[in-house]
């Protein structure tokens, strides 16, 4: 199949690689061309603009940071939209795997539909490791027939592909995912901190807990980073901070209280304020430690 990929960062690069390795033709655009170099070596076509990608690809994947970035890539001056079928290009389906606001996704999908271009929102969970291993959880919003067409490609990228509902539903699921996960990271940080403050070995506490009802992926993955005080990113905390901005904004819009998420959001604000945005979200432990340090 003729595919396109835009946004070849830590997550996007391995995903694009999986599509290429499965034998698909892949057109790639990157703001920083050097980021796409490994794909060029593997046979991808490196394009000068999103519209050039659209001229060569039917299905285009995007994996960028924010809603504004997706909108710019699609509707900008050299955007994908100018390479649709009516404009003599190939572009007929957008698969946006970025994490953006549900309302923004719906707006983009509606505008694309006017040009007979179909869209899926397909944010993912699992981090860089799962992207490399092709074991992501993919949460999909959009028309069932579009998903049916894209599903074989998703199978190359993830192990759990759930059709959540209409356009935007994938992003809603992702917001829920972020709430549950980061709240768990915060709980984990507090537990590790309580153990240390009680002069009990956090390593042993974590081990004991993993076998019981408090056992979780977060305790497993983030717990070990906290115990080892290894705060290098896995997922950069600034991305979780961005996601909390989105979901608390939705809560406001819906008149729906999220008391725990709101407090976790404040811990993330403090993390950002200390300049740890490019470190791992396990740094929430450092925020808790600061709060209890005598001044």
């Amino acid at each position: 199949m003729k595919l396109g990929f835009i946004g070849v960062g830590a997550m996007g690069l391995p995903l694009a690689g999986h599509l290429l390795n499965a034998g698909h033709a892949l057109a790639v655009w990157s703001r920083r061309p050097e980021a796409a170099a490994p794909l060029l070596a593997a046979g991808a076509r490196i394009c000068a603009s999103p519209v050039e990608v659209a001229r060569h690809a039917e299905i285009v994947f995007t994996m960028v940071t924010a809603g504004e970035d997706v909108a710019a890539v699609v509707f900008g001056e050299e955007g994908l939209i100018h390479g649709g079928r009516t404009a003599g290009g190939q572009f007929s389906t957008l698969v946006d795997m970025s994490t953006i606001a549900p309302a923004m996704t719906r707006k983009i999908a509606t505008r694309l539909k006017e040009q007979s271009i179909s869209m899926l929102d397909a944010p993912v969970s699992g981090g860089v490791a799962a992207a490399i291993n092709g074991t992501l959880a993919i949460m999909v919003g959009g028309p069932a027939e579009t998903l049916a067409q894209v599903r074989p490609l998703f199978d190359l990228l993830g192990k759990t592909i759930v059709h959540v509902g209409e356009n935007g539903a994938g992003q809603v699921a992702k917001a829920c995912n972020q709430m549950v996960m980061v709240a768990a990271i915060q709980a984990c940080a507090e537990a590790m901190h309580l153990a240390a403050a009680s002069t009990v070995d956090p390593l042993k506490v974590r081990l004991a807990l993993l076998g019981g009802a408090a056992g979780s992926r977060v305790l497993e993955v983030f717990g070990v980073r906290m115990v080892n005080r290894d705060f290098r990113a896995g997922v950069e905390a600034r991305l979780h901070h961005k996601d909390f901005g989105i979901l608390l904004d939705e809560a406001h819009r819906l008149g729906s209280p999220l008391p725990i998420a709101a407090l976790v959001g404040q811990q993330l604000n403090a993390l950002m304020g200390h300049g740890w945005g490019r470190d791992d979200t396990a740094s929430l432990l450092r925020v808790v430690e600061l709060e209890s340090r005598p001044t």
Partner: protein, 293 residues
């Protein structure tokens, strides 16, 4: 003075009337013609656009709902900026509550057109607007502030120049943290007293003499005891103002746990149909959530 006024709602209408009563000539533009009704027998001219208001006035005051409305009135087609083309010395005074960043942005764009801009949000609610006892928090240029001060004095009991453009909105955001968290605290205290079998009215009376004294305990507290939930200041407006606060905190990497918890309670109020009531209906929410209705 020739004074423009845009935004003749619950707050704006009495504020504009105070200016007219002080002998100023008003120039008005309203989206809904019904808003102009109270001005038909006084020295006030209705115009077809904000631009026309800017042509006739030396100072224009805006009092609208949110940042995008202010931007539209100031910078949009047919807006104040358009009407002020080729004219010098116009001052626009925005008394709405909007995000500091939006105020700074509008201020910069107007400055590029040679128009002075003050952000001058108020505290005191509809009661304060009617009684001309508002507290006015101003950001912007000191010379412009001095020129507008005589008008502020007709609408409020105090006006303070806090700092540069946006500083008034920062002060208002601080005000909304204190009042939002304060209302929640009084509501929690009263619900706690009642659930403990103690009369909240007696608790309030006792507390008024001590360190927990506050205007909110005194005024809002009394209205809670009277179960008078008529606005005043609507819960959805406080929800909006706290959103501005929380978005600033997000941008600044700033931790505001108390305000964050309170903002969620305002979300719950709006979601459960209390948005049009006074923000003291926080008490009803707490009663409902703790089964003490």
């Amino acid at each position: 003075m020739q004074v423009g006024f845009i935004g003749l709602g619950l707050m704006g209408c009495p504020m504009a009337l105070h200016l007219a009563n002080a002998g100023h000539s008003l120039h008005l533009w309203a989206r809904r013609p019904a808003s102009l009704e109270p001005f038909k027998d006084i020295d006030a001219r209705a115009h077809a656009s904000a631009a026309a208001v800017a042509k006739h006035a030396e100072i224009v005051i805006t009092m609208v709902a949110d940042g995008p409305d202010v931007a539209q009135v100031c910078l949009g087609a047919g807006g104040l900026g358009e009407g002020a083309a080729g004219k010098s010395g116009l001052i626009i005074v925005d008394m709405s509550t909007i995000a500091p960043a939006v105020a700074r942005d509008i201020g910069a764009k107007l400055a590029a057109k040679g128009i002075e801009f003050l952000d001058a949000p108020v505290s005191g609610g509809e009661v304060g607007a009617k009684a001309a006892t508002l507290t006015i928090m101003v950001g912007g240029n000191a010379a412009a502030f001095e020129r507008v001060k005589p008008l502020f004095e007709k609408m409020g009991k105090s006006s303070t120049l806090i700092g540069d453009c946006g500083a008034g909105q920062v002060a208002k955001a601080c005000n909304q943290i204190l009042t939002g968290v304060g209302v929640a605290a009084v509501a929690e205290a009263f619900n706690f007293a009642r659930k403990s079998g103690v009369d909240p009215a007696r608790v309030r009376e006792a507390l008024l003499g001590g360190f927990a004294y506050s205007k909110i305990l005194e005024n809002h507290g009394q209205r809670m005891l009277d179960r008078n939930f008529k606005p005043g200041f609507k819960a959805w407006m406080h929800q909006k103002d706290l959103r501005i606060v929380m978005e600033e905190a997000h941008k600044l990497g700033l931790m505001l746990p108390g305000a964050a918890a309170t903002a969620q309670m305002f979300n719950a109020m709006v979601g459960s149909g209390l948005g049009e009531e006074d923000s003291i209906a926080m008490l009803k929410l707490l009663e409902r959530m703790s089964g003490s209705e």
